[in-house]
Point group: C2
Chain length 251, copies 2
């Protein structure tokens, strides 16, 4: 398996045709996977926004005031409003805003970015990353994964994860397959789109590299069943339920 | 960046010298990273165990009985005892056993495997995966990451994660670095060992492939500060705190 960055991509602007930008710079093979940082998908889809676009309601005012008290840092109620509008559910309000986006991804601040965004205060995640991936997949003819860099419970730091995908299943479903000793496998569903996102992130980086798109070559999904379930909803996720019921004790 | 499996590794037995097994099969370059599935580290370190090794105490009996009631599946109290003994903390007892291992990793059932283990009921995780990585690093002369496949909140399925590492930092610390527009970065700590584990898992697979060791070639940590913090402890992790306080409602 090889992972390389598409070279020479320009600053992406609203309305840009990402597929063409990629297609002009790399000769794809039919078994490649193209992995795209959501940053540039958002830019192309016009998801830049300004804090002024968000009129803070009562809930946003209350959340920002509480976060300011708890963290000792100044918090803009308009930012809280943007997060609320991008979210289907708020799982925690303090000591940070943990939300589930409308498309199902659970992350801090609804994944709204403030870096790598010129001339705008905010960059919102794509509205429907799998639809974005589908459009790129149609134009490029190979599987596409749209990613973000995101934190997680239990472990410090952040890593690349998949937000959307098209042209391949999200996971290898190993159920029914056997291990080296003929026993049924413990691991049943391997989230390969997340693993592709992580692999790509090693090459794309987080900084000024200018490498938002990578190609994964000579990797095969293989002869496995597939599954397209990626996001757990509240009902099926005890961790989300616990977080929703838990209250941070402001000191 | 290239990721390939070390070919032709045998079934690993207690006492095997993993570094030699790798060294005989691949000519490593000085800037390679070697990624090793914990399964074979555990086997080499004699971490196979039998259910009979564990005498269930009262807590294990109670947990197994409750899990049996809640899941409708039969649960062995000796398995619960093994999980308890491998754990520093139990975060959830039902509807599944979520624990933090002695070395800091939070996962279901303390990461105890039942597949890919001949002639034994159980395979425990390495006692100290970073020490295991350190020993391999000393012998192989390149950075080493020891991995497992593990589930996570919010998302279905499992993916490769790092359990231990040596010869390189766990994370790229981007703090103080700038984005394309000269602004400070949102993403501060990129957990590259987890991303290497995920990339490797795409190639190693979960089944009968016989490919527990991969080599990551032509990838560079780069000119960044490093951090070795990977596991959050209870104090610094609100999700762990919430889970510890939460009670599953047995129906
Ligand atoms: N060429 C180019 N690179 C960009 C652009 N925006 C971000 N990048 C690069 O894309 C990579 C990922 O950026 P990041 O902000 O981490 O994206 P995210 O993970 O999707 O939030 C980095 O190498 C950035 O320098 C852009 O408009 N054009
Ligand atoms: N050659 C060899 N391969 C093994 C052995 N044990 C497991 N594997 C392979 O190692 C890979 C990872 O196995 P898995 O059980 O998922 O390991 P884990 O992720 O560390 O729990 C698969 O390709 C297995 O077939 C072994 O003793 N020898
Ligand atoms: Mn982002
Ligand atoms: Mn990123
Ligand atoms: Mn395992
Ligand atoms: Mn595995």
């Amino acid at each position: 398996m090889e992972v390389f960055a598409v070279p020479g991509l320009p600053e992406v602007e609203a309305g840009d045709d990402l597929a063409s930008l990629v297609d002009e710079r790399v000769r794809l093979r039919s078994d490649d996977v193209v992995v795209v940082a959501s940053t540039v998908v958002s830019k192309a889809e016009g998801r830049r926004a300004s804090l002024d676009d968000f009129a803070a309601g009562d809930r946003a005012e209350a959340i920002a005031a509480r976060l300011e008290r708890v963290t000792g840092e100044s918090k803009d109620p308009r930012f809280a409003q943007a997060v609320i509008e991008e979210s289907a559910d708020l799982l925690m309000e303090a000591p940070f805003l943990l939300t589930r986006t409308r498309f199902g991804h659970t992350t801090v601040n609804a994944g709204i970015d403030r870096s790598n965004v010129p001339d705008a205060d905010l960059l919102l995640l794509p509205e429907d990353p799998s639809a974005s991936a589908e459009a790129l997949h149609r134009d490029l003819g190979v599987p596409v994964v749209v990613t973000d860099t995101s934190g997680r419970p239990f472990r410090h730091g952040q890593r690349g994860v998949a937000l959307g995908w098209a042209g391949m299943p999200a996971s290898r479903d190993w159920r029914g397959e056997r291990d080296r000793d003929g026993r049924e496998l413990d691991v049943t569903v391997q989230s390969v789109v997340d693993e592709l996102a992580a692999a790509s992130n090693l090459v794309a980086g987080e900084g000024a590299g200018g490498t938002p798109v990578t190609v994964v070559r000579d990797w095969a999904f293989g002869d496995h069943a597939g599954s397209d379930e990626l996001y757990r909803d509240l009902d099926g996720d005890f961790v989300q339920q616990a977080l929703r019921e838990w209250q941070y004790q402001d000191s």
